[in-house]
């Protein structure tokens, strides 16, 4: 094809570089700088898709991000295909593959069009009135219909393989963020930049200049220069300032609290494969905190709502102009203009200037601007004042329009006549693009002249300039932009002086004289009028009227009932028209109707880009101890514990996980075991009130714990429920070393800081997390003393000299260590703390020293097993936020006589002192080989009755104990403490409940013997 719609000499495309791509398998030629839309139009293709509901043909309507429905699927690779890509915003490049979507079997022949045929039965919200099942046919309910409806809905197709591309997010602070690089934005950025402020200028398209790129290059000068030269000047000036960042291909998608603005930069999408830098992400999110923001986001043209206004070939007048002047494409051979304001006339003049044919200007207004009418006359353009388009014709592209004149009341008068045309350029006026302003929570105000909303009261540190502020004359736009840039810089504490503004000379139409007509009369009854408001979701004016009549009359109800503005374009060109139609239907004004909420994002943002670099391995930090590499070398099995990865077991070659755990647990009790205990939370507590502090956060008493000694403590929430536990050592009178559970380390510190800072600011206490300062190796078992003695110097390990629950400082190879004589297994145990960088070295020293003694490394699973044999709890396993110290039968850990502590009051509440609470017990299954499932429920009968079954409690921990040669379990059981020796049953899915005897949970004590 030869691009028959291309206009010679026009446009900012690079005609020296031909680029072609494919659309539905056909090769489409274009030029570098084209979008898919402009290239398609250059080749006479205007229909690109099907609408959401009725599958009606949809063509290109806008020229940029305002297009409502011209979307395609890009690429066919199941990993990198992109659905719902707007053809008006995607630049073409070699190798680009575009396909029409939401149609089957093909774009032109789509079975979904059946919906269109039966359109009259599918008005807004029809699905609320059917598909719910009836008394006779209950099965005819939503579950039956939903699969068909789901298949018909949706637009493009999701990739089915993981995304091969990468994304990133970066943080920036700036003084002035200018959003939009049209004339106002450029002027603002240039003026702010002169102050030396850090300026970021953001432009959504691939070039600066905005609306200037869409004007007739011969019709306007700025300071005596052609628009393109003025843009180049401004760009060059910006480049001189080192503090200025200019981002093209970047959309400001969200204006959040405290002047935080999210930007999304498309880094590579527009480039052909071979020019994509592998080191660069596909897209980048900029998280910008700006002192001041200048909004220069332009205006969005709205169409007119008239009968059969959705056919391909009906385009916004401004878009026709943009395609002509920016891309050198005149989208039709014979263009009819339809408008209610002056601006669309410029499109007619531009078309004539470019040598195109204008079929006429159909204007709804009676009073026309005389100078303009004269200019039309000179250009040989037919003008139809006080006339409306009442219908159109053409299946996949319009071929003619029907027009009728209107009477004084605005009703159709007389017969309709036919005007042949293959393109209708429509304008219903211009809506200031207030989306970001509204997101910033600024208040909108209604502007009668524009018949639209514009920025009113600001809420954040921002100012609007140019068309987004309702200003349309270029001279004014530049002035406003400059002023906004200066004021923003000054508000950010920079000094800058105003300079003289360049003078604008233009023959472009800059007046509006708009007469709002929210729905153009068709002379037909409502049910026969197909006047579309939202072209993507197929919302007609009659749907909005029906919703209003049915009582869904609040703007939000109408929106939700009709789905107006709920498509991917979020109603950019359609919402104000919809508000107008609602207002007429309710007999009130548009500002009384109000608007729906402008929500983030302004334009859809790639989910992967929002995830940024925090995916895959980088999703969350992976914490490993200094000994981690050693565990890896031993091919340990790991488990995630919070952010940590902990070695769970060290199976030998050919050994099962279960066997490894059994071996490790056996060794730790019969010879010696070594555990990497580094992950336990460690908090250094200092200050003269440290004891008082500990007394308040733990349930037991800390006033008399002497330096050198350790004590176990329980921590409660304010509700009296156990929230953490651990051993704390007294280093000096005003200095303690607290340990917490691995998973609780961060939350305990946070909670303690919270109390210190908000409840007890009077206490002289300082907390420092030292979890990562110390590496900890715990050696336990009968041979532990011997092994540790051979490595640690300066400590006499004789139990008389170094008793249980004390600590001492020593050295290993000259490196200071702190050794705690505490135990989580019931065996003699030494927890050796060493500065973290020596962790692995110490570990290997111990392994070597322990070798002759059979020292066995054991993982967290054996640790769990060993502690269960001894009956030690794990917070989070035996407890679940509903367990008091009494429930654990650990009343010994609660001081009766000391002062207040967190949770104390709750321990005496009526529910907490109930005597039928669940309590922690041991369970021995009658069959010692059976290990119950952790989480299994405990019932009181040998058979499981029909639900609801009364439950006595549940199994919290269960293991096969190698040291006892049978299964052991811990459980929370109602009144458990008073039921020693009783039999209960453990329920099982699909099997008979398992009988088990209640015993004390210290299985190494008397529990097993008593039960036998």
């Amino acid at each position: 094809m030869s691009q028959p719609y291309r206009i010679p000499g026009r446009g900012l495309i690079n005609r020296d570089r031909s680029v072609s791509f494919t659309f539905d398998g056909r090769e489409i030629p274009g030029y570098e700088g084209d979008t898919i839309a402009s290239a398609l139009l250059a080749n006479g293709e205007i229909m690109v898709g099907r609408s959401f509901k009725y599958h009606r043909p949809r063509g290109i309507v806008g020229a940029g991000g305002d297009d409502p429905a011209a979307m395609v699927q890009i690429g066919s690779d199941p990993a990198s295909t992109d659905p719902n890509v707007m053809v008006t915003t995607r630049e073409i490049h070699a190798g680009l593959e575009a396909r029409s979507q939401n149609c089957w079997p093909s774009l032109k022949h789509d079975v979904g069009v059946l919906n269109d045929v039966f359109m009259r039965f599918f008005p807004a919200g029809f699905y609320y009135k059917t598909f719910m099942g009836s008394d006779r046919f209950r099965w005819l309910n939503w579950m039956t219909f939903e699969p068909f409806i789901r298949r018909a809905a949706g637009l493009g197709k999701s990739p089915t393989k993981p995304d091969p591309d990468s994304y990133e997010s970066v943080n920036r602070h700036c003084d002035v963020l200018v959003i939009g690089a049209g004339p106002a934005g450029l002027a603002a950025a240039a003026n702010a930049a002169r102050s030396g402020a850090r300026v970021i200028l953001v432009e959504e398209t691939d070039r600066l200049g905005g609306s200037l790129n869409a004007t007739d290059p011969d019709g306007t000068t700025i300071g005596g220069k052609a628009p393109a030269d003025w843009i180049a000047d401004q760009t060059a000036k910006l480049a001189e300032h080192p503090e200025v960042t200019v981002l093209t291909q970047t959309t400001a998608f969200g204006y959040y609290a405290m002047n935080f603005v999210g930007l999304i930069e498309r880094v590579k999408d527009h480039l052909p494969e071979h020019r994509r830098d592998r080191r660069q992400p596909r897209q980048r999110v900029w998280r910008v905190r700006a002192k001041q923001v200048v909004l220069a986001t332009g205006a969005i043209e709205r169409p007119l709502v008239f009968n059969e206004n959705d056919r391909p070939g009906i385009m916004l007048a401004g878009a026709v102009r943009t395609f002509l002047n920016r891309y050198g494409v005149l989208a039709g051979k014979r263009v009819l203009i339809f408008t209610n304001n002056d601006s669309a006339w410029q499109t007619a003049f531009d078309i004539r200037a470019a040598g195109g044919e204008v079929a006429g200007i159909v204007d709804l207004r009676r009073e026309l601007n005389e100078a303009m009418a004269l200019r039309a006359l000179k250009a040989g353009i037919a003008v139809y004042p006080r006339t409306a388009i009442v219908g159109t014709h053409g299946r996949h592209r319009i071929d003619s329009a029907f027009v009728s004149s209107l009477d004084d009341n605005g009703n159709v008068r007389g017969s309709r006549s036919r005007i042949e045309c293959d393109l209708i350029a429509v304008s219903g006026g211009w809506n200031p693009n207030v989306a970001l302003f509204a997101q910033s929570r600024g208040k909108l105000k209604w502007d009668e002249e524009l018949a639209s909303f514009r920025p009113g009261l600001s809420w954040q540190q921002e100012r609007s300039a140019g068309a987004c502020n309702g200003t349309l004359e270029l001279q004014e736009v530049l002035a406003e932009g400059s002023k906004a840039g200066l004021e923003a810089a000054r508000a950010a504490d920079f000094t800058v002086r105003a300079i003289r503004q360049p003078e604008v000379r233009t023959d472009a139409v800059e007046t509006l004289n708009l007469v709002p007509v929210w729905q153009v009369p068709s002379g037909l009854p409502r049910e026969k009028t197909k006047a579309f408001v939202d072209l993507q979701d197929d919302v007609k004016a009659s749907d909005l009227q029906l919703a209003t009549e049915e009582g869904y009359d609040s703007v939000e109800h109408t929106k939700r009932y009709t789905t107006q503005g709920m498509g991917t374009d979020q109603g950019k060109i359609s919402n104000v028209n919809a508000f107008g139609i609602m207002a007429e239907a309710r007999g009130i004004t548009v500002p009384e109707v109000g608007t729906t909420t402008f929500r983030q994002p302004y334009r859809p943002v790639t989910i992967g880009a929002l995830g940024g670099q925090h995916v895959g391995a980088h999703f969350m930090p992976r914490r490993g101890t200094p000994m981690h590499a050693w565990h890896l070398e031993q091919k340990a099995i790991f488990e995630p514990v919070g952010d940590w990865l902990r070695a769970r077991a060290y199976p030998k070659p050919g050994e099962s996980f279960h066997d490894a755990v059994q071996r490790e647990a056996k060794a730790a009790r019969t010879t010696a075991g070594i555990l990497d205990a580094t992950t336990l939370g460690k908090i250094d507590i200092r200050g003269k009130d440290a004891r008082t502090f500990l007394n308040r956060v733990y349930t037991n008493a800390w006033s008399k714990l002497a330096p050198g000694r350790c004590r176990y403590g329980l921590m409660l929430g304010e509700d009296g429920m156990v929230s953490d536990d651990g051993v704390t050592a007294c280093i000096a009178d005003d200095h303690f070393h607290m340990t917490t559970t691995t998973g609780g380390a961060a939350s305990v510190l946070q909670k303690l800081e919270d109390y210190l800072q908000t409840e007890w600011p009077d206490l002289d206490v300082w907390l420092t997390t030292v979890t990562e300062q110390w590496a900890v190796a715990a050696v336990c078992g009968p041979k532990a003393e011997e092994i540790v003695a051979s490595v640690v110097e300066g400590i006499d390990l004789d139990p008389e000299e170094f008793p249980f629950m004390t600590w001492q400082d020593g050295t290993v190879g000259g490196i200071p260590v702190r050794v705690f004589r505490v135990s989580f297994t019931g065996e003699t145990s030494y927890e050796i703390n060493i500065p973290a960088t020596y962790g692995r070295w110490l570990w290997e020293e111990l392994i070597a020293a322990g070798k002759p003694h059979g020292l066995t490394p054991y993982g967290t699973e054996a640790m769990h097993l060993l502690r269960a044999e001894k009956g030690f709890i794990i917070v989070g396993q035996e407890t679940d936020g509903t367990v008091t110290p009494g429930d654990l039968r650990m009343d010994w850990a609660v001081a009766k006589k000391k002062g207040d502590f967190i949770g104390k009051r709750s321990l005496s509440r009526s529910d907490t002192v109930r005597d039928d609470r669940k309590q922690l017990v041991g369970l021995l299954t009658v069959d010692g080989d059976h290990v119950p499932m952790e989480g299994a429920q405990i019932i009181g009968t040998p058979e499981e009755p029909a639900p609801p079954v009364p439950m006595l409690g549940h199994v919290t921990s269960a293991y096969f104990s190698p040291n006892l040669g049978r299964s052991i379990a811990m459980a929370m059981v109602k009144r458990g403490g008073q039921r020693m020796g009783e039999t209960v049953w453990i329920a099982r899915l699909g099997d008979k409940p398992v009988p088990a005897k209640i015993v004390h949970y210290d299985f190494l004590g008397d529990a097993v013997g008593e039960a036998a």
């Binding site: 059917t130 197709k157 995304d163 959040y256 995830g611």
Partner: protein, 416 residues
């Protein structure tokens, strides 16, 4: 009330859809009612419907400061499930689930109840233990729930990533087949239409400015449309539960946080169930329209503004990428926030108060939607009889004094 049906749709279609009734009237407030419900969300309208239908209280009004369904009813991710751990929670949520069944037919309004199944994933040993415990408790309570290993998860939900080399691999999960999603607006409108048909006045754009009492008993409310006399006032104002209670100097243990959610652009069906993950902190389903509906945890700050911060969304998307790397190229289309009232035990308040005639229903945290019919049903019972029934009783406010909490932290979709 003209009944909705396929036949009626065709009849109206032929007649140009000019004969539909208004869904609800637009009444002027009467000077007095037998009861007034504050809050025209799903819970409030359900309460009104059941009061009128089951308790014969038809001289009642629902007052709504904005438009009905504009609070959390219109902002949630519509997940329906009842697989809660504790008996008290299982009872009320399962009561709701039973009511959801066939509710569309009862209301003669299609609420698009889709029992497509809810998966709750486990990513570590602790979660496995908790979820298995929950499955067993559910089973014995007669609540539909089952355990799936990782492969079974993949079979049920093929688009999920169960690769072992992600940060938190999927180890398994629970499935409630009867769980699913529905259409929130449909539920609100269906209840409103049915309640209106029974005579309930729905007063939109009517803000309550004060609650009148005499000698410790409720006598009426002050509104922006005048004084309304009534002996019973029931507050169902999620997001402002404590604000309403404070009008009577009642202090509730409620914290209000923003909770955000979002939808992607519509795509053809790709996800056929609801997937929830605690450790990876996200939940996701696909709407009938084709949008992925995605939610996660609350914003940490207390706030009454219905919006949150971008970082929460970013984290949520990163989480989604862990479970569904195939969704990476799809785009977020719309995000929004609501305000959730969170109680210390993550369970709701359905209760009488120290002021006679003033009832409170709130504090549903992040999970109130699924309870809508059950909540309205038992709350109506409480208002009518001035005594809580067996299901409502555990959720009385005196539990914060006695300590008889229903501590469901582990049962919520995401930790908070």
């Amino acid at each position: 009330m003209k009944r909705y049906s396929a036949l009626e749709l065709i009849r109206q279609g032929l007649g140009g859809h000019r004969g539909w009734d208004r869904v609800w009237r637009k009444p002027e407030p009467k000077p007095s009612y037998d009861a007034v419900i504050i809050g025209g969300g799903g819970h409030g309208l359900a309460t009104a419907y059941y009061l009128a239908k089951l308790h014969g209280m038809t001289n009642i009004a629902v007052v709504e400061k904005g438009w009905i369904g504009g609070g959390n009813s219109g902002r949630n991710t519509t997940i329906i499930r009842s697989n809660y751990l504790f008996d008290e929670s299982a009872a009320i949520y399962n009561h709701a689930l039973n009511l959801w069944n066939g509710l569309g037919q009862e209301l003669n309004f299609n609420i698009m109840m889709s029992h497509r199944g809810v998966l709750n994933l486990a990513h570590d040993e602790g979660e496995m233990r908790q979820l298995k415990r929950r499955v067993e408790a559910n089973r014995l309570n007669g609540v539909d729930s089952e355990w799936l290993d990782a492969k079974e998860v993949k079979n049920f939900c093929p688009s999920i990533n169960i690769s072992g080399d992600i940060r938190y691999p999927v180890l398994g999960g629970t499935l409630q087949r009867s769980g699913g999603v529905n259409r929130h607006d449909g539920v609100v409108w269906g209840y409103a239409r049915a309640a209106d048909a029974l005579g309930v006045d729905i007063l939109q754009q009517t803000e309550v400015t004060g609650i009148l009492t005499e000698a410790g008993e409720v006598t009426g409310i002050e509104t922006t449309r005048g004084t309304i006399r009534t002996p019973k006032v029931a507050s169902v104002t999620a997001g402002h539960t404590s604000v309403m209670a404070s009008m009577l100097d009642i202090r509730l243990p409620v914290e209000s946080h923003p909770l955000q959610a979002l939808v992607s652009e519509p795509i053809k069906p790709i996800l056929n169930c609801v997937v929830m993950s605690n450790a990876v902190h996200v939940y996701c389903s696909q709407s009938d329209k084709g949008e992925l509906v995605i939610g996660a945890g609350i914003d940490a700050q207390l706030s009454y503004t219905q919006r949150g911060n971008l970082d929460i969304i970013e984290h949520q998307m990163a989480s989604l990428m862990e479970l569904f790397p195939i969704f990476s190229r799809l785009r977020m289309m719309r995000q929004w926030g609501g305000i959730v009232d969170v109680c210390p035990d993550a369970s709701p308040i359905i209760s009488k108060t120290p002021v006679k005639g003033f009832y409170v229903n709130g504090g549903w945290g992040t999970g109130g939607w699924k309870a809508t019919p059950g909540s309205g049903h038992v709350f109506a019972d409480l208002i009518a009889k001035d005594e809580p029934n067996r299901i409502a009783a555990p959720f009385a406010i005196d539990r914060f004094t006695t300590g008889a909490l229903v501590a469901e932290h582990g049962a919520a979709a995401v930790a908070h």
